[in-house]
């Protein structure tokens, strides 16, 4: 088995993606990058014996598109006050975030080998004071919308232009606090605040429709007086995600909500949409089969 460091992408390959001017080509490159991240974290989670595959794989294209296409970031100066903010409210997708942050150059790729180790800078869930590039600690669900609102209000008050993106999952939206936050977002309505729903419809214990139904989700946000994108975007199609971000830009004067249809565990057929793979250890057989599928897709994308 190859090690994570073998997979290290040199920084110039990121520049190749980020600097691509042809948007269609750029989307294809980001798509391939996201799939590479899936392969890498699949290896990592198998090796470490724990961590959340399902929710990480679900957010691969969302996070990759944000970091390679939209967010203004400063990997050499992670606390730059003008940076765009990302609140990963579904903090259990940490493996995907860490993988992308490392490739962006926030910390050495080698650190990924220490994920969830004693004294690692990569905690089980994101910790802002241990991991460069993490804008707020997360993991306990339901905090992100309130925290992101605070960041966006601070921008307005200080006349700064940075964006704040909050990525929530169904678990977050089960929490009552999210709806307190949504009410407040509608009331205070700061510019450049985007709530992205990674809507894979599976939560830890099972299908959302069984555990805690959220539909009709767009209508719920609208009833709370928020500006919701008219369509539900495909959260695994980078071109679609780019379009959704363009829509957010056109609506930057007020907060926006974008819902993305995604699949938990995306990329490994027998793990997709299956709550069993929310956070279970990846066994040898599943690893071998899953890895083959992921590589197969990656080859097609390259």
């Amino acid at each position: 088995m190859s090690t994570l460091t073998d997979k290290k992408l040199p920084r110039k390959s990121l520049q190749d993606i980020e600097g691509e001017t042809d948007l269609l080509k750029k989307a294809a490159k980001i798509h391939s990058f996201a799939q590479q991240c899936r392969v890498d974290i699949f290896d990592m989670l198998y090796k470490r014996g724990n961590g959340h595959w399902g929710g990480s794989a679900s957010a691969a294209e969302l996070l990759s598109t944000l970091y390679l296409h939209f967010l203004d970031t400063f990997p050499d100066d992670p606390r730059n006050p003008d940076r765009d903010r990302l609140v990963l409210s579904k903090g259990h997708a940490a493996p995907m975030l860490y993988n992308i942050l490392a490739k962006k150059g926030y910390f050495p790729m080698e650190e990924l080998n220490t994920f969830r180790d004693l004294n690692s800078i990569l905690q089980g869930h994101p910790c802002m004071n241990k991991t460069p590039g993490v804008d707020i600690s997360s993991g306990p669900l339901g905090h992100g919308i309130s925290v992101g609102l605070g960041m966006a209000l601070a921008a307005r008050l200080q006349k700064k232009k940075y964006w704040t993106f909050v990525i929530v999952g169904e678990g977050c939206l089960n929490e009552g606090q999210s709806w307190e936050g949504i009410m407040s977002v509608a009331k205070f309505a700061p510019p450049r605040l985007v709530i992205m729903v990674d809507y894979n419809k599976v939560q830890l214990d099972g299908l959302c429709s069984d555990i805690m139904p959220l539909d009709p989700l767009s209508d719920k946000f609208r009833a709370f007086n928020l500006n919701v994108a008219d369509k539900v975007y495909d959260g695994h199609d980078v071109k679609e995600i780019m379009k959704s971000l363009e829509w957010a830009k056109q609506n930057e004067r007020k907060p926006s909500v974008i819902i993305y249809k995604t699949h938990k565990g995306k990329g490994v057929s027998f793990m997709e949409d299956n709550s069993k793979w929310h956070g279970s250890t990846i066994d040898d057989e599943s690893y071998t089969k899953g890895k083959a599928e992921l590589i197969e897709t990656l080859k097609k994308l390259k």
Binding site: V147, A154, Q177, M183, S184
Partner: protein
């Protein structure tokens, strides 16, 4: 309470000091949860409407909005009734404010029994215990409105979070012309050799009065105002009991986990002595006038004298 003719409610002071700090510190923002006309943060809201955020009855949400603001250079003060701030907002205080060591001031109003007529559901007798258990969090219980002003002036510049506990009712002004409050330091209001009486918050004046009466019967009590409960001033505590050999604590809080427990934790490791504590025993309190309630639950000068005499005679 006759001795202290001047009485001011801490919440009234809060309203005034926030106006002053708001002028000095442009990063200061205030959040409240639909109780601003009670907590008196409303005055800040009227003067600085752009820097005031009334989030409605949603303490958890308020704490996290404050947290998000603090990561972006603002200095938030988040105000609510102590019981709801520290219990409904507990997980947010722990996982967003304290875990990330964010410079937020959490103001718990109407604390202890001071929301007296609203009853047990509104009386905050567990807040010190819960806040004290949070890593990175300073816990401050001013004894009067003077200490409240000084605590706010100091903690607003502190690189980390603080919980400040405030009484609703007018209470004696004790330290108007005294040395200012020092964060992390115990104030010794009276030297003594026979017993140490450690108090915090409103009961500090009761301890001072009790010491006067004990003096009249020949007992020399040392009175400590433990207004910073965390980090606690171990040195002053240990030095005091080394001299007196026993200590009595009094607070307007459950005897489980409050200031008395904090004192016991220090002394059991450093200098165990005879000890007793006054506070609300493990029970729910009731409705009634504030001073009568304090009396009912044994938070009084008389209790201090009674328990002090027992402690000395053991």
């Amino acid at each position: 309470m006759m001795k202290y003719t001047k009485q001011i409610a801490m919440r009234q002071t809060l309203g005034e000091v926030l106006l002053k700090l708001g002028e000095e510190i442009p990063e200061l923002v205030v959040l409240d949860s639909d109780v601003s006309s009670s907590t008196q943060t409303i005055h800040f809201g009227k003067k600085y409407p752009n820097r005031f955020f009334n989030v409605g009855v949603a303490e958890a949400n308020m704490v996290d909005i404050a947290g998000g603001m603090a990561t972006c250079g603002l200095r938030p003060v988040a105000s609510a009734f102590a019981i709801f701030l520290t219990l409904k907002g507990a997980e947010q205080i722990r996982n967003v404010i304290c875990y990330n060591k964010l410079p937020v001031i959490l103001l718990g109003g109407y604390a202890g029994l001071s929301d007296s007529f609203d009853g047990a559901s509104h009386q905050s007798i567990t807040d010190i215990a819960v806040m004290r258990a949070m890593p990175n969090l300073n816990v401050i219980v001013p004894a009067d409105s003077v200490e409240l002003i000084q605590a706010l002036e100091q903690m607003i510049h502190f690189d980390g979070p603080s919980y400040i506990r405030i009484c609703r009712n007018p209470t004696p002004v004790l330290f108007e012309n005294e040395e200012p409050f020092k964060f992390g330091k115990i104030r010794k209001t009276q030297e003594g050799t026979d017993i140490t009486i450690a108090a915090c918050g409103v009961p500090v004046y009761m301890a001072m009065e009790a010491a006067d009466e004990l003096k009249a019967i020949g007992i020399s009590a040392e009175v400590l105002n433990v207004s910073t409960i965390k980090p606690i001033d171990s040195e002053t505590l240990v030095n005091s009991v080394r001299k007196t050999g026993c200590i009595l604590t009094i607070e307007e809080h459950s005897i489980i986990g409050g200031m008395g427990s904090a004192v016991a934790e220090v002394l059991m490791k450093n200098h165990p002595v005879k000890m007793d504590s006054i506070g609300i025993s493990d029970t729910f309190t009731s409705t009634g006038p504030y001073m009568e309630l304090l009396q009912k639950y044994g938070i009084s000068k008389e209790s201090i004298i009674e328990k002090a005499l027992k402690l000395i005679r053991v």
